[in-house]
């Protein structure tokens, strides 16, 4: 034990945490962007899927049902490989070319593929969360909206979804916490995010503790920042009906404890 601790490269560990190099900084930004974009598209996909599931048209319900069944029933890593390696073959053209140019910005095809895979996966879970959230709203709310002449869409947007949001946001926060960590799986298709950065550093130096401890620290930084943001969002959403505010730390710890249980 004593020998192990002594063998640590303290200088390297300190550098990885407090003074990471440029490659790491870029990987960190990439990690955050992928997580945020994948979550946004995941929520939109989930919303569409949830509305499909409540549709009166059977076709839409069936599509949504199979989407959720397949995506929730297969491993995320397999989905990532399938999207990146399989989708192009299936479609007969290169869906994710080496780099995609959007005017001034150029994005790696593999990053796009990874983000798509994460978003598609997330959509299935969000679908269930949003469906449950909408289901928690009393039917009378929609009826009252209809009785004053609102269309289904308007009633959803103005009456039902804002109320459902309060039910949806806490689990959504946990989903995003998971999303941040799941971006690490994209290392396996070659997306240069912070886990791949650590993995490559390790393979050159054979210093796993330093690299993987430091990268864990950075994941923890990201999830902790998100935890703080989530508290603020929930506080804002609950403003209209909460009699007295719980203390900030109390809520933060509550959410952290909840995340830890996962």
């Amino acid at each position: 034990m004593h020998a192990l601790v002594a063998a640590l490269d303290w200088h390297l560990l300190k550098e990885r945490i407090f003074d990471p190099n440029h490659a790491f900084a870029q990987a960190l930004i990439r990690t955050v962007l992928i997580a945020v974009l994948a979550q946004i598209f995941g929520v939109l996909l989930g919303l569409a899927s949830a509305l499909f599931q409540m549709s009166r048209w059977r076709v839409l319900r069936v599509i949504s049902y199979f989407y959720v069944l397949v995506v929730r029933g297969t491993p995320l890593i397999v989905q990532i490989f399938f999207v990146y390696y399989g989708a192009s073959l299936l479609l007969g053209f290169d869906l994710f070319p080496r780099s995609v140019n959007f005017g001034v910005v150029s994005i790696d095809g593999v990053v796009v593929a990874g983000t798509v895979a994460l978003a598609v996966n997330e959509g299935a879970f969000m679908s269930e969360i949003i469906r449950a959230g909408i289901g928690a709203i009393d039917r009378g709310q929609m009826e009252a909206a209809k009785s004053v002449g609102m269309s289904y869409g308007l009633a959803m947007r103005r009456i039902v979804l804002p109320q459902a949001a309060r039910v949806i946001v806490p689990p959504l926060g946990n989903e995003f916490n998971g999303m941040i960590k799941n971006t690490s799986l994209l290392a396996f298709i070659g997306v240069y995010e912070i886990f791949l950065d650590a993995e490559q550093g390790y393979s050159v130096t054979f210093k796993p503790v330093e690299y993987f401890f430091a990268v864990s620290f950075w994941y923890l930084v990201l999830t902790t920042i998100w935890g703080l943001v989530q508290v603020q969002i929930e506080r804002k959403l609950g403003a209209s009906d909460r009699a007295e505010d719980e203390g900030f730390m109390q809520r933060f710890l509550g959410i952290t404890a909840h995340s830890l249980q996962r």
């Binding site: 009785s147 004053v148 002449g149 609102m150």
Partner: protein, 258 residues
């Protein structure tokens, strides 16, 4: 109002099934402009279902309902058969019909005023300033000017129901439907809601009220309709209805509640 006026509600032989259960059985009813009609009857008699059919919250399985001359929920196809109307048309028809729910169904994430001005702004496309002025006037009318910025969770049941009435009135409907508006209220709050309804009736609003409030029926109603088992048993003006009901089922019902 002269009886020669075209009826504002014209229901003909309305049929409604829940599964195999027939809940409305050839229900016909006409309501003239300015008339107040109370529908009474034991629970399960179909009176609430019938009221919900009038603004197509329930789809009818037979017969037809017209409000203000427009067929509700259905349109006539070129070959003369009926099919369900477009969502847009149904929504448009509902703007003419105010509905007050037993459980208020105020939107909890909006203040009293926001509840009232939401539909005028979003559906009628009234300018916000104008809607606010009208909304404040309606709040004054139901005696809740001081609750303008209160969320429904902070209002008593009676206050919530009065806001709900104001919300329905904000669309300037030609007809108001009340579904047991006082049944979910504590006894001491019933009066304030009935007062608002009585005021409305006096002002000439056309109203169809499902209620167990016999006092209101006696005072404000022009006509009482007794329903039982999905059929209209008897119709009469209140004086006649209470003093000399013709049908044994009506006599039996009245003897239980009076």
């Amino acid at each position: 109002m002269s009886s020669t006026d075209a009826p504002i509600v014209k229901a003909e032989s309305v049929e409604k099934y829940f599964g195999r259960n027939r809940v409305l059985c050839e229900v016909s009813l006409e309501v003239r402009r300015g008339e107040v009609v109370c529908i009474i009857g034991p629970s399960g008699s179909g009176k609430t279902t019938f009221l919900r059919c009038i603004n197509h919250l329930e789809r009818i399985d037979g017969g037809r309902i017209e409000v203000n001359g427009h067929l509700i929920g259905y349109r006539t196809k070129d070959d003369g058969t009926l099919c369900e109307d477009s969502e847009r048309n149904i929504a448009l028809q509902r703007t003419e019909i105010g509905f007050v729910f037993q459980r208020f169904n105020l939107w909890p994430h909006m203040t009293a005023l926001e509840n009232i001005i939401e539909a005028p702004i979003r559906v009628r496309k009234v300018a916000k300033k104008e809607a606010v002025v009208q909304g404040e006037a309606l709040l004054a009318r139901v005696g809740l000017s001081d609750k303008r910025d209160a969320y429904p969770g902070r209002l008593s049941g009676g206050q919530q129901q009065r806001v709900a009435i104001a919300r329905a009135l904000a669309m300037r409907p030609a007809l108001m439907l009340f579904d047991e508006p006082t049944s979910a209220l504590d006894p001491e709050m019933i009066g304030e809601v009935l007062e608002v309804m009585q005021e409305l009736a006096k002002e000439g609003m056309t109203m169809v009220v499902v209620s167990h409030e016999m006092g209101f029926a006696r005072e404000a109603a022009d006509r009482l309709v007794m329903m039982d088992d999905g059929v209209v048993v008897e119709e009469a003006p209140p004086a006649e209805f209470f003093s000399s009901p013709r049908e044994p089922r009506t006599q039996q019902f009245l003897s239980k509640i009076l």
